[in-house]
C-alpha cells in the first residue's frame, strides 16, 4: 500500500515536471504563432527572440502560457497530447489503416516474436551443447561473452541490405536482427542455469544410475528454468529494440521504427512520442507476459515462486 502510494506520487511528480517543462520548451514556437496572428509580443520579432532565454520570454509574455500545451508541432508535447494521439491512432482508426499504431505495432511485434523464437531456440540448443561438450564450452563460451560487449546493433543495416540483395525481404531481415540480439543473453543464462545443480545432486543421480538424458530432463532442465526466464525477459526486450532499429536504416514504411523515422523527418513530434510510448507499452506487456508464463510454468513444476 505504502509502495503504491509512493509510486503514484513519483508518477504524479513526473507529470507535473513534464507539464512545467513544456512552458520553456514550447514558448518560442507559441510566440512565433502569436506574432503571425497579430498579437502583441515582447520582444516583437522572431530574430530578437531567438537569442533570448526561454524563461525571460515566459516572464515577459505570460499571456501565451496557456497555448504551450496545445500546439500542433511542439518541441515537447504535453502528456495529454500524446495520450490523445495514442487514443486516436489505436482505438479510433481502423487497424488496417496506415495511420493506425496497432497496424504498425503488429508489424514490429511479428518481427520481434519471430526473431525471439528463433533466437531463443538456437540459444537453448547451443547452451545444451556447451554444457555437454567440453570442447564447445572452451571454444564458444568466451566468444559468447565477448559478443555481449559489442554493440551488435551496428550490424543491423548491413544484415538488411545483404538479405535484401539475395532476395529476402519483409519480416525476415528484422527477425534475424531480433534473433541475434536475444540469442546471446539466452545462451549465457541457460548455460548458467544448466550448470546450477550442485555436485551433490549430480552425484545422487549417478547413484540412481541415471543416464545422461535422464539427468538432463529430470535435473538440469528443471533447475535451469528460473535462469532461463530471467534471460528471456532480457532477450525479448532486446528483440524489440532489434526490430525497431532494424526498421530505421532502410526507410521501412511500416512498423514503430518507421513511425519514429517518419516523425523525425517531418517534425511530427506528437507522432514520435506516441510511437515511443507504443513501443514502451509493447515492451512492458511482453515482459509482463513472460512473467505470467514464468509463474505458471514454475507452479506447474512445483517450484516455489
Amino acid at each position: 500500500m505504502k509502495t503504491v502510494l509512493a509510486v503514484l506520487s513519483v508518477l504524479a511528480a513526473i507529470a507535473v515536471i513534464w507539464y512545467a517543462a513544456c512552458v520553456p520548451m514550447n514558448i518560442k514556437g507559441v510566440l512565433d504563432a502569436a506574432e503571425r496572428s497579430g498579437a502583441e509580443v515582447v520582444p516583437a520579432t522572431a530574430r530578437e527572440r531567438r537569442d533570448m532565454g526561454s524563461f525571460g520570454l515566459v516572464a515577459t509574455n505570460s499571456f501565451a502560457i496557456r497555448d504551450v500545451w496545445s500546439q500542433d508541432r511542439p518541441r515537447l508535447p504535453a502528456p495529454h497530447q500524446v495520450a490523445v494521439e495514442l487514443w486516436e491512432t489505436t482505438v479510433e482508426k481502423k487497424i488496417t489503416s496506415k495511420r493506425s499504431l496497432i497496424y504498425h505495432g503488429q508489424v514490429t511485434l511479428s518481427a520481434t516474436l519471430l526473431g525471439f523464437v528463433i533466437g531463443t531456440g538456437l540459444g537453448i540448443l547451443l547452451a545444451v551443447g556447451i554444457v555437454h561438450s567440453r570442447v564447445m564450452d572452451m571454444s564458444v563460451m568466451p566468444w559468447a561473452i565477448v559478443s555481449q560487449t559489442i554493440p551488435i546493433i551496428a550490424l543491423a543495416p548491413m544484415i538488411i541490405v545483404v538479405l535484401y540483395s539475395i532476395g529476402v525481404q519483409g519480416i525476415l531481415p528484422k527477425a534475424v536482427i531480433s534473433a541475434y540480439l536475444s540469442f546471446f543473453p539466452v545462451v549465457v543464462g541457460m548455460v548458467k542455469g544448466l550448470r546450477s545443480p550442485d555436485q551433490m545432486q549430480l552425484d545422487l543421480l549417478k547413484t540412481y544410475n541415471a543416464s545422461l538424458g535422464q539427468g538432463f530432463w529430470k535435473l538440469r532442465l528443471p533447475a535451469s528454468m528460473p535462469y532461463l526466464f530471467a534471460s528471456l525477459k532480457i532477450g525479448i526486450a532486446a528483440s524489440l529494440v532489434g526490430a525497431i532499429v532494424g526498421e530505421l536504416p532502410t526507410g521501412a514504411v511500416a512498423g514503430l521504427g518507421a513511425r519514429l523515422l517518419a516523425g523525425s523527418y517531418y517534425g511530427q513530434t506528437v507522432q514520435i512520442w506516441s510511437a515511443l510510448f507504443a513501443a514502451a507499452i509493447l515492451a512492458a506487456a511482453l515482459v509482463a507476459l513472460l512473467g505470467v508464463i514464468e509463474r505458471l510454468v514454475l507452479k506447474r513444476m512445483g517450484v516455489q515462486a
Binding site: K2, T3, A6, V7, L8, S9, V10, L11, I14, R75, R134, V135, D137, M138, S139, V140, M141, P142, W143, V146, Q148, T149, I150, P151, I153, A154, L155, P157, M158, V161, V162, S165, I166, K233, A237, L240, V241, I244, V245, L248, P249, L256, L260, L261, G263, S264, G267, T269, I272, W273, A275, L276, A279, A280, A283, A284, V287
Partner: protein
Amino acid sequence: MMMVSMALLVWCGGWWLNGRLANSPASNTSAVKLLVPAIFGVTLLIVWELLVRGLEVSLVILPAPSVIAARFATSLPILWQDFQQTILKGALSGYIIGCGAALLMAIAVDRSDFLRRGLLPVGNFVAALPIVGTAPILVMWFGFDWQSKAAVVVVMVFFPVLVNTVAGLRETSAMQRDLMQTYAASYWQSFFKLRLPAALPFVFNGLKISTTLALVGAIVAEFFGSPTVGMGFRISTSVGQLALDMVWAEILVAALAGSAFYGMMALIEKTLTFWHPSQRG
C-alpha cells in the same frame, strides 16, 4: 570446390585440435584456456575466407576477412575520425554524465525511503523499455552534433546504473549497520566505509551493462541525423553505397572499442573489489 573442401578440412582440423587440447590433462592451464577460443576464432575466419572465395559469393555482399582487413588498414584516418566523433565525444561524455548523475541520484534515493519505494519500481520499469527510441526527440532538441548523441547515452545508461546502485546500497546486513551505529559513525562515515564498498559489485554490474548501451545509443542516434562524420553515419551511408567492407571495418572498430571499454571497467572493478568472492576465484 577445392576451397570448399579445404574449408571443411580446416574446420575439422581446428575442431580436432581443440578437442585434443580441451580433453588433455593440461586443459585447466590458462594457456590452453586462451588457446582454445583463439584457435576457434582463427578457424572461423579461415573457413569464412575459404567459403566466400570457394563458393564465389560476391565480395560486395559478404566481404572476405582479408578484404575487410585491407579496408581497415587503408582507411585508418577515417575510422579514427569516426571513432573520435562517436565514441570519444558522444558515447564517453554521455556515459560519464549519465553514470555520474545516476550515482548521485542513487545516494539521494537511498537516503529517502519514500523515494526508494516510489522511484525504484519506475526505474526498473524504464530500464526495460526501448529507450533507444528517444533518439529522434533528443536529436531534435540538441542538434545534429555529438551533444545529442551524448544526451541519448545519458538517458540510456541512467536507469541501469541507478537501479543497480540502489540495490547495492541495500546490500549490507542489519548486523553490520548496527555495528557502525555502536561505533557512533555518522551517515557519511558508514556510507564511505561500509555501504559504498559493499555496493561496488552491484555498481560495477550496472556500469558494465552500460558500456554496451552507451555505444549502441551513440551509434543508433546517428541514424537520425549527424554531421558527415561518425560511425553510425558511416555505416548508414556505406550501406547505401553497398560498400560493405567499410561497414565491416566500422563494426570491427565498434567491437574493439566495446570490448576495450568493457575490459577497462572490469579491470577497475577488479582492483576496487578484490575482496569480493567473485573476484577471488
